[in-house]
């Protein structure tokens, strides 16, 4: 694993924000196990989930005890984006969520990796994983968008539904220095619009900033489905404290 910088140099809030993104999305993707449309895709989604879980372990360990943080925190103490906690929905929703997040994560980690901050070692490793996650999401967006009438309709519905959660990604994260957030956002928009265009999908025009935007996950405010997800993720650890294999 990557070397962890000494605890006193780590901005805890930022480690929680990035770590919770990875942990929560990993759990959401894990929900496809046993339910994916085909066996091959189930393995692909589980692989991505495991990559994210590995990132979450490093990041949460930078902020404290990984198990305590994952399994014993209340909902309001989680700092993940509202985007990643959204339920999987149909396969198109899962792919839209992956597209929006993995493009963001790839661009962000690429920038973090080239810096010398506390997240550079993790980002240097994770950026390769994120590149693959992004490729996976883009490949599926192209095929669903430019596939059958049914897949096109579902994919358009999914990118529209999740659009309002995307503005939150570009609110500066406390403790992450040296990132040009507006620049990150325009790079993200350009990349997403390019893929949606090639997939014959319409770029959503709904609000993603201002009063009607969604997203205060970084402040600990979460959407209704998150409570259920957390209950499922935490119940084993809470029911059997200290249990081991």
């Amino acid at each position: 694993m990557t070397t962890t910088p000494p605890a006193d140099t780590v901005p805890t809030a930022a480690a929680l924000a990035l770590g919770d993104d990875a942990l929560v999305l990993s759990h959401r993707l894990g929900e496809w196990a046993g339910h994916a449309p085909v066996l091959e895709e189930e393995v692909a989604l589980a692989n991505i989930a495991l990559d994210l879980l590995g990132q979450a372990r490093v990041l949460l360990s930078m902020a404290g005890d990984e198990d305590e943080l994952a399994f014993l925190r209340e909902e309001r103490a989680f700092r993940n984006l509202q985007l990643v906690e959204q339920p999987g929905g149909d396969f198109a929703h899962t792919i839209a969520r992956q597209l929006y997040f993995s493009v963001y994560q790839h661009l962000l980690y690429d920038r973090l990796a080239s810096g010398d901050g506390p997240f550079a070692p993790l980002a240097g490793k994770a950026v390769k994983e994120a590149a693959y996650h992004r490729d996976h999401a883009e490949q599926w967006t192209l095929r669903l968008g430019d596939g059958t009438d049914e897949s096109h309709t579902r994919m358009q519905r999914a990118v529209d539904a999740l659009w309002r959660f995307t503005g939150e990604m570009f609110q500066p994260v406390e403790g992450i220095d040296g990132i040009d957030w507006p620049g990150l956002e325009s790079a993200w928009r350009e990349a997403v619009e390019y893929v949606l265009g090639r997939a014959t999908l319409t770029v959503p025009d709904g609000p993603r900033s201002g009063a009607w935007r969604a997203g205060a996950g970084r402040q600990g405010l979460h959407t209704e489905p998150f409570g259920r997800m957390l209950a499922e993720m935490q119940h084993l650890h809470r029911s059997h404290p200290g249990a081991t294999w």
């Binding site: 091959e40 393995v43 692909a44 692989n47």
Partner: protein, 95 residues
């Protein structure tokens, strides 16, 4: 769309430089690009490979079990085709 609509692909993985690609197994995928990605996830996620080929199973021409005897039997009793009559000098490895 169900699983059975997707064609079958044969997967060949090269485990490291200098070795040849070896058949690893088969999988379903809608097209070649996704077959390659599925193969990456199914057959190389524990560091098994540096290169992958995917080939549509329908493009493979296989010998028939019915022709097994004419195909392979004549090779069985011709020991002189095997280089087994040479003394191997001491110290030669990898032969």
């Amino acid at each position: 769309m169900t699983h059975t609509d997707w064609p079958l692909w044969e997967v060949f993985v090269r485990s490291r430089r200098g070795l040849s690609h070896t058949h690893a197994g088969s999988l379903h995928a809608p097209d070649a690009e996704l077959a390659l990605r599925n193969a990456r996830d199914l057959y190389t996620r524990r560091g098994e490979g540096v290169s992958i080929w995917v080939v549509p199973s329908s493009a493979v021409t296989a010998s028939s079990p019915d022709e097994k005897d004419p195909f392979f039997e004549p090779a069985a009793d011709k020991a002189y085709r095997h280089p087994t009559f040479y003394e191997i000098p001491e110290g030669v490895q990898h032969l």
